[in-house]
């Protein structure tokens, strides 16, 4: 079985759900750990956005999230990952994405938020990519399964790039 983020995606308990078993609803791409592969990830998100008539803000936010996770793995994983994979599906008014790789364990939900009150001289770039994901996705979850990182993120469709405020609380 290739291109399904290991066997976990086939499980009904997987956050992406059992619908992914149906090939026609599966939007997934597996890429090699090379900058040359970024356009393939972007193409998947754009094709998915067009197919499901997502708004431009949704497409932008999903593309950024995928790029940030991909770039993080590429830049930081030691030993390097040998593959990265992105799968997308629509769940009602939400889009749910699963990003996996076989790189070193890295939990983005544990990454500290950058201090945005610092001056220009003091300001660093650490954590900014993950912070953008937090501010544009309604949920972000991490699991280490065997030798795989699995990051699930979910976005409620809506105008703009920043996530809409939660309806409750």
């Amino acid at each position: 079985m290739q291109g399904l983020c290991g066997v976990g995606l086939l499980s009904a308990t997987n956050p992406l759900g059992p619908e992914l078993l149906m090939p026609h609803s599966l939007s997934t791409v597996r890429v090699a750990p090379s900058l040359d592969e970024l356009p393939a990830l972007v193409a998947l998100v754009e094709a998915f956005a067009e197919q499901h008539e997502l708004g431009t803000g949704d497409a932008f936010a999903l593309t950024v999230a995928a790029e940030e996770l991909f770039a993080n793995t590429l830049r930081h994983s030691r030993p390097p990952a040998t593959w990265m994979e992105l799968s997308l599906r629509v769940d009602g008014a939400d889009v749910v994405a699963l990003y996996c790789d076989d790189g070193a364990a890295f939990d983005p939900t544990q990454q500290a938020a950058p201090d945005t009150t610092l001056s220009a001289e003091e300001r660093g770039m650490g954590g900014l990519g993950i912070e953008i994901i937090r501010k544009t996705m309604h949920s972000l979850a991490y699991e280490r399964v065997g030798a795989e990182n699995r990051v699930t993120f979910r976005r409620k469709q809506g105008a703009g790039i920043s996530k809409k405020p939660a309806e409750h609380g």
Binding site: L35, L38, P39, V42, T56, G57, F60, T63, V64, E67, E68, F70, A71, L74, P114, T116, T117, S119, A120, E121, R123, M125, L128, G129, E131, I132, K135, T136, G160, I161, S162
Partner: protein
């Protein structure tokens, strides 16, 4: 990604087009290197035709913020589209730079 460096008097105006992502950002940095070889307290960065930016692109913009600050000035961002502005706001960058709706207002404010 395309970069053009123009000048208005001694003021550099950098016009950026296309996607500023993980692939393009290092190329943009390379294009900026000769400009930054001189002290530049003020740079206008025009983003009207930038369609996409990620944290890699923000990192490149931060390098310009730091360069201008080091020389006693501030970066001027010009004609930023709504999606790009949202990413800049999420990142807490607006307080680090001056932001203008068009080149005319940026130039007027940069004369002093």
């Amino acid at each position: 990604m395309e970069v053009a460096i123009e000048s208005v008097g001694t003021l550099p105006v950098v016009v950026l087009k296309g996607r500023l992502d993980t692939v393009a950002a290092p190329l943009f940095d390379t294009e900026m290197a000769p400009l930054l070889a001189q002290p530049r307290p003020r740079i206008l960065l025009e983003l009207a035709e930038v369609t996409y930016i990620s944290s890699a692109g923000l990192r490149s913009i931060l390098a310009l913020v730091k360069h201008t600050a080091k020389h006693g000035g501030r970066l001027a961002l010009v004609a930023v589209g709504a999606p790009i502005m949202e990413i800049i706001e999420i990142s807490g960058f607006p307080s680090l730079m001056d932001i203008y709706p068009d080149r005319e207002s940026a130039l007027a404010a940069s004369k002093a």
